[in-house]
Symmetry: C2
Subunit: 248 residues, 2 copies
């Protein structure tokens, strides 16, 4: 269609990188791309922390359990940030701003702002031949990540992103059918969604059985049920509240 | 740099569109682009609702207060969705999945998943000459939006996006300086951030005074303090909990 849409449709997560480091120029252009994303009322409610310290990278790898958190071209950590907006306020103004900052509404704003900027960074990176992997796994121990990065109140680490030169080329994994994800005017009734979900289950089973490595017998529905029967990261809730976000 | 990065860096929100409607082919390619974004553990925790019914569009415009919610090439509403994953589960399994689904962790997952897919859609649209505007304003009455779209438990409307042929070409608004948004290894101390924020305040003041329309005297810090002193959308919190998300 065009270079941009080709880049987007060609996305696959990369979990193995060469040792080539991103250049300062590359980091600058990627951050500039991130910053140009839409932001709610110009709040820009996020901070991106680039992690270059090898000791820190090793610690974050331990938290995530993923070797590519340590071995990559560059590691970014995306934080929701409502601390910055208070910096040039007076102590009185700060007190008046608290109720809004601590709301679930503003917590949603920080997550959306951070995610939009991250996806701009991801696409920009992929457009110049780099690979990326999102790292929700940093939330495995969100208290520790926050401590390692020295985050103040009103700031939470949301996810990381490993970027670098790909040392693998995984297959494209099939997505849910169009008609399951895209509804018109009203949320689609379960009876209408279910046959399409079943057909996706069959498609994913076929994909897992025939892909070039790590073949298995599994469906989407079974994966989801298995995953959600085991609560994980239940401490994220208390952590976020201790950072004074999502409190009311 | 390349077509993709040029597209990203050229982003500005479009708030006035021609009456040209998106074609079905365009909608399909945009949704395909949205779906190719990264997703946490393949959950794909979002649903996109395309709004074409004129009566419904008028209602959503009333909620947002923005005419371009009604007048655009196409209107998308992005919803966080943890309902779909329960569809092929048994009632017993569903009960076992509840604790996880209702967690703040999974609420974060839905917002990130929805936002990443939305930003893919936005960039794909801009790459073919369309303009876009995110609509956080649908959260002005999130209860009503949810009712209009018929959302079940575990589904919340997060934001809309108006897409269409631009009928305006706004200036690019300056963003915060690189060194304020991008930190290395540790969150930057306030004393270091503040001079750069002050310089952005001066830059934005200059921008507002010299732009081609709607000139005003304002800085970023003043805007933020003003905005956050007035709590808005405080009912989002209770709404989300009533949809059985972000509860624990």
């Amino acid at each position: 269609m065009n270079h941009t849409i080709d880049t987007i449709l060609n996305h696959r997560s990369i979990r193995k990188f060469t040792e080539d480091k991103l250049t300062d120029e590359q980091i600058h252009i990627l951050i500039k791309a991130a910053q140009q994303a839409s932001t709610s009322s110009n709040v820009m409610a996020y901070t991106i922390i680039g992690v270059t310290d090898p000791v820190l990278k090793k610690e974050l790898r331990k938290i995530s359990g993923q070797p590519y958190v340590e071995h990559n071209g560059h590691l970014f950590v995306f934080c929701g940030d409502l601390h910055r907006i208070t910096q040039l306020s007076t102590p009185e103004e700060r007190i008046e701003m608290e109720e809004t900052i601590e709301s679930t509404e503003q917590f949603i704003v920080t997550i959306i702002d951070a995610a939009l900027s991250a996806q701009n960074l991801a696409i920009a990176a992929e457009s110049i031949g780099l690979g990326i992997c999102y790292l929700g796994s940093l939330r495995n121990d969100i208290y520790h990540v926050s401590e390692l990065l020295g985050l103040p109140d009103y700031v939470v680490p949301l996810f990381g992103m490993a970027v670098g030169t790909p040392a693998q080329q995984p297959e494209l994994k099939p997505r849910l059918p169009f008609e399951v994800v895209y509804h018109e005017n009203k949320y689609l009734a379960d009876e209408i969604q279910q046959p399409a979900i079943s057909s996706y289950d069959a498609e994913l089973l076929e994909y897992y059985q025939t892909r070039s490595s790590n073949t298995k017998v599994d469906t989407w529905s079974e994966q989801m049920i298995r995953k959600y029967r085991n609560p994980i990261r239940m401490d994220v809730s208390s952590f976020v509240k201790e950072q004074k976000l999502n409190k009311r």
